[in-house]
Amino acid sequence: MPQNRKKLIDLFIGHISEAVSHEILIRSTENKEIASHYKKELENLLDRSKKYREKINPKNSSLPEKDIDYIKTKIIIKVKTELKKRISLGYKNIDLGLIEILVDKFLKEAKIS
């Protein structure tokens, strides 16, 4: 894929990965109710990712299956790496099962899939 498009997709992947990691970590703490009051930051991450999405063709429909698979796989790998690093050091209550659910949710909101 053209360099510029790849860069935009990588930026998109970066933002969604951080949003998913953030969300799963917050849910694993006992302070969900506090973080939910400041979900503006999560919304900002997602809004920025949508700005990159708006520059990726096709703009008004889902991306080709190949691109969706690439994006989804990359995000899942990134997030799993971050979270597994923490689990291996002793973090508890991190629900890895949420990764795919949140990734699908955010990709749908961004009209990737």
Partner: protein
């Protein structure tokens, strides 16, 4: 324009003090002083606000007035970029403290329709706010510079929940991975987030000034340069080194806390 104030005894002359942050009544204006019935005086509380444009004060008072007539409240607090100098705010952060559940979206909608300015309304109970102030540096920064309808209680002691801080810190990693594509403002916010958490962990006072001073010391860059995206590779290298080292510390401490619980 009406201001109610008390006469204070002076040495050679008695005086009446009025807030610097006010609409109208510029120095040099002639005023009439008349006694009034003593009653409970309602006055807003300003926290670390030296100066505020009069039109912003009007907006704040209007927000207080609308909410008072709309819903129950223990306190109403205005924070965020509205209170910074100039008119660079995109929305107004309003914190509504109330023990009962409220329809946040509805209140937000009404405020927006009356003021024609985007509003970000957050509702919390007193207990939730206290908890937020104990564990989240961002909340402490918010309230450090704010205007409230009633007095805000003193800040509670901090409680370092490293896992929670890790979750808040993770977004600052974006600056390392996507630095060429982020705007100056985005870089500044991510750096500010990281340093706020750092100062919180080191038990230092959280204020915009302290954070910006620490940014300058740690990364040898002024906040204005960062906001204007005048950065070089050296900044990214320093930032990455600092982030990775601090991340290690946070994760190590979080894991320790998990094992202890």
């Amino acid at each position: 324009m009406e201001i109610i104030s008390k006469i204070s005894k002076g040495t050679k002359m008695d005086q009446i003090y009025i807030p610097k942050n006010r609409q109208g009544l510029e120095p040099g204006t002639y005023v009439k002083i008349i006694p009034i019935e003593e009653k409970t005086i309602e006055r807003s509380y300003f926290y670390n606000i030296k100066e505020l444009e009069p039109i912003k004060l009007e907006i704040v008072n209007k927000i207080f007035s609308i909410i008072k007539n709309l819903t129950k409240y223990n306190n109403i607090i205005i924070a965020g970029s509205l209170l910074d100098k100039g008119f660079n705010f995109k929305d107004i952060d309003v914190l509504l403290i109330n023990e009962e559940k409220i329809n946040e979206k509805n209140v937000e909608k009404i405020l927006e329709s009356r003021l024609k300015i985007p509003i970000h309304l957050i509702h919390m109970t007193q207990k939730e706010l206290k908890k937020a102030l104990m564990i989240d540096p961002i909340w402490r920064i918010m309230l450090n510079k704010s205007i409230s309808y009633k007095r805000i209680p003193p800040l509670p002691k901090t409680n370092l929940n490293y896992k929670y801080l890790d979750a808040q810190m993770i977004k600052s990693n974006l600056l390392i991975e996507n630095s060429e594509c982020l705007t100056g403002n985005e870089k500044y916010k991510l750096t500010r987030n990281l340093i706020a958490i750092y100062l919180f962990v080191k038990q230092k006072h959280l204020s915009k000034e302290n954070i910006e001073r620490e940014i300058e010391e740690k990364f040898n860059i002024e906040s204005e340069e960062l906001k204007n995206n005048i950065i070089d590779e050296k900044f990214i290298k320093k930032y990455k080194k600092f982030y990775k080292k601090f991340e290690k510390e946070i994760i190590k401490n979080a894991a320790k806390q998990e094992k202890a619980n």
